[in-house]
């Protein structure tokens, strides 16, 4: 296959899979699963190949329908986009493996719509990452958003309600993006990203451009769940099915963060991002404290997502190479850790019938492998070496030191302590809650009679794979930074 076609084939393969999945679903649920999984695996290999080609020969450009930019729509796969594509498509493959059993147990009659919507969501998300045209990005944003609302509405009784709240706020976010884009288009007369980045310095300081950029960043912030625009996120994540949450939590918000990165690169990091750094710092602390207040494990993880989005936004807006590397590495790490934790939360709910973190006593006795995978993810979340999370935090801290902003160094360190508090409640109840044999309370009797009852292999294997990858990312973070993130870096690639 010609590598020049890879940028196009990534979203188009997902599109075809989303159309073929309902047709395959007529034959049976397992066929629908097979088609969507095959599509995701194919795109994962395309992304790997595309990233390799982009690193070796520079960005791959594809002109849809043969129309040249800036008039036509351009798809660009540069190292930054390739890095994101590999993360999101790899996550999709693992989530689809997990989803087969999970959906079968939680929402069996919604299985075919689930796989279809997953493919449609990925069409939108992978298109947003790959496109080189700002209006095309809006179209993909709407595709992914509509599929995302429907996906989050599949789940418990309250899922449609929280999905509707997400719909109102998400539509507002997309509307802000579109309005901001109109302002930029009014001033520059172009929608192509590369063209726009050449035009914007010429109209530097224009009030219209500043307003447009603020609106676009506001829209992206709403979509990524940046504090204080995060209010839709905890409810939507808590009430949706565990497979949908473990897809959207690691992947969806990261792509919104990527829009913010792209916009800041295009606009050459305007000075107004200093304010954004403070917002991100406030979000890290506030969301960590809110996470401590939760007793539902999925809700706690959702607030922890808001805090981690704060890290990513902090790293981007500090606007120096080290912080940027930290933010990119944290996008990878957070996707991995959140997937493991949501996978584990889904498995625990199926096997132990609870999401209350104070009821998890005996988790390692009942589900030893899940507990082990969860432990690795928690270590990475808190930032204990040699897991990946340690290295992204250390880059962020170095970045904040280089920017000379000691306040943000303190924020990262304090939030690490807060992370420690809310995650080690889980570890403490499940691993260390004192259990002398022969206790007499109901709880003790329940613990005594507990047998090993691990979640089914289809759900366990992806969880274990990702927890191994977390450690590998930690061990080989130097290679990832040197070979992949640095070339995709706006300060080094020019």
């Amino acid at each position: 296959m010609n590598p020049i076609q890879i940028p196009l084939l990534i979203p188009v393969t997902f599109l075809f899979a989303s159309l073929l999945t309902p047709l395959a679903g007529l034959l049976g649920r397992s066929w629908a699963h097979l088609v969507s999984l095959a599509g995701a695996v194919f795109v994962f290999f395309l992304s790997l190949k595309g990233l390799g080609a982009a690193l070796a020969e520079g960005p791959l450009r594809y002109y849809v329908s043969g129309w040249l930019p800036p008039m036509g729509i351009e798809f660009v796969l540069d190292p930054l986009a390739g890095f994101l594509e590999v993360i999101i498509t790899g996550m999709t493959v693992l989530v689809l493996i997990y989803a087969r059993k999970s959906v079968e147990i939680e929402n069996p009659d919604k299985a075919v719509p689930f796989y279809t919507l997953t493919m449609l969501l990925m069409t939108g998300l992978s298109g947003m990452v790959i496109t080189g045209d700002l209006f095309n990005l809006y179209v993909f944003l709407e595709i992914s958003a509509l599929a995302g609302y429907a996906l989050l509405a599949i789940g418990g009784k309250r899922a449609p309600f929280s999905a509707f709240r997400y719909l109102t706020l998400g539509t507002l976010g997309a509307g802000f993006y579109l309005m901001g884009l109109v302002f930029l288009f009014m001033t520059t007369g172009t929608l192509n990203m590369a063209d726009m980045s050449r035009m914007l310095p010429l109209v530097n300081g224009s009030f219209t451009v500043t307003t447009g950029l603020i609106l676009i960043i506001l829209g992206a912030g709403l979509k990524m769940g940046l504090f204080p625009l995060h209010t839709w996120l905890p409810d939507a994540y808590t009430n949706a099915s565990s497979a949908a949450t473990s897809l959207i939590a690691p992947v969806g918000t990261k792509v919104a963060a990527y829009i913010m990165i792209r916009m800041l690169i295009i606009s050459g990091f305007p000075p107004l991002i200093e304010l954004l750094t403070w917002v991100a710092a406030a979000g890290i602390i506030a969301a960590s404290i809110l996470a401590i207040a939760q007793s539902d494990i999925k809700r706690m993880l959702a607030y922890s997502s808001v805090a981690n989005i704060g890290y990513i936004a902090l790293g981007i807006t500090l606007a120096n190479p080290l912080a940027f590397i930290g933010a990119m590495l944290h996008i990878l790490n957070h996707a991995l850790m959140k997937a493991v934790l949501f996978f584990a939360a889904g498995g625990i709910f199926i096997k132990m019938g609870t999401r209350d973190i104070f009821q998890l006593r005996g988790l390692p006795k009942k589900m030893p492998f899940t507990a082990g995978a969860m432990l690795i993810a928690v270590f990475s979340m808190v930032g204990i070496p040699p897991t990946g999370g340690f290295f992204s935090k250390i880059y962020l801290i170095f970045g904040a030191i280089e920017a000379g902003t000691w306040f943000f160094v303190a924020v990262i360190l304090i939030s690490t302590l807060l992370n420690f508090v809310y995650f080690f409640r889980v570890i403490q109840t499940s691993f260390f809650k004192p259990y002398e044999n022969g206790g007499t309370t109901d709880d003790d009797v329940k613990y005594e009679s507990m047998e090993m009852d691990e979640m089914s292999p289809g759900m366990l294997v992806p969880t274990l794979i990702i927890s191994v990858v977390i450690i590998l990312v930690g061990l080989f973070n130097g290679a990832i930074v040197d070979k992949v993130i640095t070339p995709g870096h706006p300060w080094f690639s020019g």
């Binding site: 076609q5 196009l8 188009v12 599109l15 075809f16 159309l19 073929l20 309902p22 047709l23 007529l26 594809y62 002109y63 849809v64 329908s65 043969g66």
Partner: protein, 142 residues
């Protein structure tokens, strides 16, 4: 036969109107690529005709016109026609959706572009029509 309204006037008027709306829908669709109109508008008109039948003749009789369980299949097929045309151009050596490269023999590039848009529009019409019917069927409950 019992219809929702029970009124023969509504029933007869609707039966007369449905084919007229459908013909206007087809006209709008076929003229889409060189005059005002197109796949979306044509599809909406076609869907409106079916929905008029659903409301006036009752949900059961109107199944003969277009069965509710087939909507999703045709919706996916329509979108597949759209994406498949793009892929055909890609496989024939052009860029995605570059109609000039469509593997239809004996046609000039300009003619190919003309017919290529018509093929795309037919997919759009099918998808818009069946999707709208599916949405309203879900609300009516059939």
């Amino acid at each position: 036969m019992k219809t929702p309204s029970g009124s023969p006037i509504i029933q007869v008027a609707a039966r007369g109107l449905v084919p007229v709306i459908q013909i206007i829908g087809l006209y709008v669709f076929f003229h889409g690529h060189y005059s005002p109109g197109g796949g979306f508008q044509g599809g909406v008109l076609l869907a409106a005709s079916i929905l008029l039948a659903r409301l006036s003749l009752g949900t059961e009789v109107s199944q003969l016109l277009f069965p509710a369980r087939k909507t999703i299949i045709f919706s996916a097929l329509g979108a597949l026609i759209f994406a498949g045309t793009g892929l055909a151009a890609l496989l024939a050596g052009g860029h995605f959706l570059n109609y000039e490269f469509l593997p239809l023999p004996g046609l000039e590039p300009a003619e190919l572009r003309n017919w290529g848009i018509l093929i795309i529009e037919s997919g759009v019409t099918l998808t818009v029509m069946t999707s709208l019917i599916a949405i309203y069927d879900e609300i009516i409950g059939c």
